[in-house]
Amino acid sequence: MKDTVGRKLRLLWLQSITCNGNTHSFLNHPELFSLLSHFDLVHHPVLESGYSMEELTDKKIPCDILILEGSFIEEGFTKNGVEVSSLVAHYAQRAEYIVSAGTCATFGGIFKQKDPEKISGFCFDGEERTERYEHYAQKLISLPGCPIHPRWLSYVLLMIASGKKVALDSLHRPVELYGYTVHSGCTRNEYFEWKIDAKQFGLKEGCLFYEQGCQGPYTRGSCNKILWNDITSKTRVGTPCFGCTEPEFPKVGLFSTRTNMGIPATMPLGIPRRAYLTLTGVVKSFKIKRFSERLLEYDK
C-alpha cells in the first residue's frame, strides 16, 4: 500500500462544479476510515486532511492520486479567486492517477446542461474526447454515476494501492464495474424475461422497462451486483434506473418508457431489434399464472 520510497500514496480530492453528491456518497462507505488509513489524505473538501483550501489554491500540495468531482469549464469557475481549470491542470500534471468520480467529472453530467457548449467532463464531453484527453489518458480512470457507489471508488483505490492494473474499457471505465448492465442481478429479471410490466411504482412485482422508464437493460453499471447501502438498488425497490452512468445522462421523461406503437424505442444493450421483437412476440403469447400473482400476500 506504499510507493517505492515506502510512503503512503497521497490522495487529493478536488471539486469543480458539483453538488457534492459523490463526496457524500463516499462518506457512506462502511469501512471508510479503514480504507483511508491506507492513504495520505492530503486534501478533501469535507474530511479533515493535511492541507487547507488556501494551500490547495496556492498549488502547493503534492499528490499521487487525484480524484476529480464535478464538471469543468475553462473560465469563470473559481476557488479562492483561482480558476479551477488552472488548479486541475496543475495537479493533473503531477498526479500518477486521475480518477474522475461521478458522471459530471467523467462526461459533463447534470451541470453540463447549464451551458452544453462550454461545460464538459474532464477528458470527455459526452462520449467525445476533450482536448485534455491526449495529455491525461494514460493515467485516467472513469467512474461515472450520479452519484458513484462508494465501493466503486474503494475498489479502484485499493487496486491502485495494491499495485494492480485496473482493466478499463474504451471510455476508461473499469470493466469489473461497468462490464455489466444495471439489469444484471435485478430481482425483476423473471418479469423482464416474460415481458410483464409493473402495474405501479414501488411494487415488488413486474418489470419497469416496458412502461416505467427503466434504463437498466442498456445502462452500464453494477447497481444490482454491488448493492446500495449493501442492501438494495433503485430497480429492486421499484424505481426505474435513470441511466446515470451513461455519457448522455441526464435524459428527460425518466418515469416513462418512450415507445413507438408500444415497442420500446431503445433496445437492451447490444440486442438486435429483430431478435428482441421475435422473442417478445413469443413470450407474450403465454400467460404464466405465478407472474400474475403477488409475491407476498400480506393479508394472509
Binding site: 413507438n260 406503437m261 415497442i263 403469447s285
Partner: protein, 197 residues
Amino acid sequence: MKMKEKKALKRESIIQTALQLFSANGFHKTTIPDIAAKLHMSVGNLYNYFSSKDILAQEIIKYTSEVLGEKIRVVNTMDISAKEKIYKIVEIYFRMAKDKPEMIEYFLRVYLSNREVFNDGCEGMVCVSGFITEIMIFFDDAVASGELRNQDFFSAFGLFMGYLGGMVFLKGEGVLPKGIEYYIDDISRNIYNALKN
C-alpha cells in the same frame, strides 16, 4: 445431394402440398392419406416427417409466416418513406393472394378457423412471429421517423392487417367485382391516411 438436403426438400414439398389441400378442402376434410397420395409417398413415410396432422398444420403456419415475413423484411430495409412501404406491403399481400392464394387462404380459413388445432404449440404469436416481427419493425421505424402517429400497436396492426385480411376473404368468397390488384392503390392510401401523423 446429401441425405440431409434431400430430407429438407421432401419436408418442404410435404408442407407445400398439405398447404394446398388444407386451403382448398379445409383442415378436417383433408387426411394424411390424401396428402401422402398426392405426393406419391406412403403414409408411414409421411409420419417420419410429421408425427401428426396437427403438427403438420402448425409447421405450415410457421412456413407461411416466414415466407411473408421475409418479403416484408426486404421492404423494411429499403430507404423509402412509410407511405411507400405501406404500398409495397399491400402489394406483396395482394399479389400473394392472387399468385399463391393458398398462402393467405391457409391463414384465414385454417389457422383462424380451427383454433383448437393450434392451441397447444402455436399459442398467441408463437407460430406467426416471423411475420409479426417485421410488421412491428415497420411500425417502429415509421413512428420514429415521424410519419405515422404513435399509438398502441394493436390498434394500428388491426387496422392494417384486418383490412388486408378482410379484402382477401372477400376475394375468396368471390364477391369482389374487380381483381384484387385493382385495390392496391386505394387501400394503401386509406391505410396511410388512417395511420399518418
